[in-house]
């Protein structure tokens, strides 16, 4: 159980990586952008891969009537996410410490994992909803109004995960280091749950 608790603490601490590293990343490459434009999504805001990328993505998006990429103060998520992540990390560490001293059982580890998973899914849902709005809620006076072959208005929603062709752009959407650290942390807590369960079986 001690080993399991240490893993639990480590796993919970890995969430803190999100304060340093981006959670997600979207890259936009095109023939005339051999060096692709890109944005890193942090839990507290969006930053360009290169200094002027956000400005240049906005510049291109104005042709199709997309809104500008939100600043940190424009979205409640960027205020709430850091609080949620920090809280979950601290709670996870506390659970781990309690487990180390035998105050709580390995079920708490699983409970923590379930909560963070639910929060993560909600976060992804929110992220996707924002992208749908961003990609479809377009300025009616846009310079270019493009339609799909079936006559419906073209959407410019970037993919939630993976690659998608948007006009001349190839959009790639993948987790970034902060996201991978979070995933690794969740995996560690899952291992912690199993180790905890196993040690309990041996002890009893």
């Amino acid at each position: 159980m001690k080993k399991a608790s240490i893993l639990m603490i480590l796993g919970a601490l890995l969430l803190m990586g999100l304060f340093q590293f981006p959670l997600w990343n979207i890259m936009l490459g095109a023939p005339q952008y051999p060096e692709p434009l890109g944005m890193n999504i942090y839990i507290d805001g969006i930053q360009g891969m290169n200094e002027f990328d956000i400005q240049n993505i906005d510049g291109l998006n104005h042709y199709i009537g997309m809104k500008t990429i939100p600043k940190a103060i424009d979205m409640w998520e960027f205020e709430v996410f850091p609080i949620v992540i920090a809280s979950m990390s601290i709670i996870g560490v506390i659970i781990g410490l309690f487990g180390y001293f035998g105050k709580v059982s390995h079920h708490w580890f699983l409970g923590w994992l379930l909560v963070i998973t639910i929060l993560g899914v909600l976060g992804m849902y929110d992220f996707n909803a924002w992208m749908i709005d961003y990609g479809t809620n377009l300025d009616p006076n846009a310079i270019m109004k493009l339609q799909n072959p079936d006559g419906t208005a073209m959407s410019y929603k970037p993919p939630l995960l993976g690659h998608q062709k948007l006009l001349n752009f190839d959009a790639y959407s993948y987790p970034r280091l902060g996201g991978y650290l979070m995933g690794a942390g969740m995996f560690l807590t899952f291992i912690a749950y199993f180790l905890g369960k196993k040690s309990k079986t041996i002890n009893t």
Partner: protein
Amino acid sequence: MIKYKFQLGSLFIALMLLTSCGNNNGQKGSSGALNSSAAEKVYVAPGEQDEFYAFMSGGYSGNLTVYGLPSGRMFKEIPVFSQFPTSGYGYSEETKPMLQTSHGFVPWDDSHHPDISQTNGELDGRWIFINGNNTPRIARISLTTFETEEIIEVPNSAGNHSSSFVTENTEYVVAGTRFSVPIPQRDMPINEYKGNFKGSLSFISVDPEHGHMDIKFQIIMPGFNYDLSHPGRGKSHGWFFFTTYNTEEASTLQEVNASQNDKDFIAAINWKKIEAYVNNGGGTKMPANYAHNVYDEGTHTATTTMKKEVLTVNPLDVPGAVYFLPTPKSPHGCDVDPSGQYIIGNGKLSADLTVHSFDRMIEAIEGKKFDGEAYGIPILKFEDVLAGTVKSGGLGPLHTEFDGKGNAYTTFFISSEVVKWKLGTWEVIDRKPTYYSVGHLMIPGGNSAKPFGKYVVALNKITKDRYLPTGPEMEHSAQIYDISGEKMELLYDFPTHGEPHYAAGCPASLLAPKSKKLYRLDENKHPYAVTSPDQAKVVRNGKEVHVYMSTIRSHFTPDNIEGVKVGDKVYFHITNQEQDFDVPHGFAMIGQNTSELLIMPGQTKTSVWEPKQVGVWPFYCTDFCSALHQEMQGYVRVSPANSDLELSWSLGGD
């Protein structure tokens, strides 16, 4: 990003393949291979980049062109001494001061000898210098922006030809006069040249941080013609060598009269000694009048300062600083090998090359083995300084470059060839014809302590039948040779712009990574800049109207202006708001008596328009900036001179 990485990976593999191909071909080449190997050696596949930059002087274009080697593709023409309507250089209000001189605005020059700045004798890629031959000037060009940043006029000089070569650590860029003239200028009979005209050799200090130039001193030499020069390096660092002709001091029909002496001189100047002399208060301050033009990247604006004084040095006042080395047959090029030991005089009316030894020169000076003097300057004995003679079998040697592997390559104008020979043994190893009548040649770094001896480029004076004919006037022609093997191999012909004299080259890796992509808008200090479109405005100041205009894809702000009157002088101050690589905007106004502007991201440029007719006159963006480039346009309403219409401006009806 993944795709990008993949592309990098495939590029790396492609490079490996190319490299291995090159090696195979080299082996085949030396055993008399097919021409197809030459094609592969100069082929740079689409999307790939050249191995070297080459900077070719423009000669009578007054500019400097940038090429890639081995492909021979031209990348850019950098305006230096000539107005350049393509970008508005010399037309825009910001750059007009660059072409100011003591003779007023001079819109042209004849640019000859580019030289890349050095540290410890090796190319450092900070700046490239080039001389204006006709109205003596030296320019400094940034190798991060590839734009001319500074031009200094050289007083007491005429035909600024033995220029602009840098010392081992770019302490000085050196400029020598081709014509000797009365110093100071005065009204006197031309035929009293002899003994009265003088030649000036100017040492222009270069600030190591900003590159700013300042004439530290001018050596006032006898009235010969100072033709070309090069610095000592390594052991001969601290010396500078100039070839001379017309030691006869003829003032007319020099073709004959300056070719009478069997030997002219190479002047050896111990500049360190003269530097110490002037640092201790030596020299004579002389009234002068010359322009110093500096372009500021922050304000995107050049300013002219007229300088009123120059420090001159009489070489006789600094004993041991100047000697003459007799050199046969009106030597032209003056080249120093990478070790600094050999000084090569290319006697242009001869078949042979004269190579002087630096060590023997020092011995002769210490032993005071003089063979008389000229105007008080000691002449060393020819036999005492000679290292060897290259019996070339060619005719009309002009210039020599080095490969860093103990070989030298000399151009022969009259016999139209490049001859490879060995330093020290003076034996000729190989010769290849050029097409036709080669002047300079260039090996990247070939006149530094560390040449990159892979290619030599021959810069020819006569083109004739090498390309499809274009009437009587044609571009000049260059040839590139592979010199990695024992024998030279002609690879490719390519036309060059203007008349390249000398050229300078360096590995692409020295410059490409630091080449600027844009100017930062938040560092724009131009007094009329607008750093966001909402700052755009129009201001009247008497008859002057200042339009603070912004551009971004794809509109001008403002694009409708009313209240301008006939007789006004309208200044369009245009700031490109883009902060994206390679998104310039242009500006042109109908009937304007000047060129267009091409404005880089983050830059501000100003164009003047003096409307003469009432009406509504359009302007537009000249650079195809986006899919809506054709829509990037606007109107100015011009009312009669007595109209009382107030100024107004708008965009989108706001």
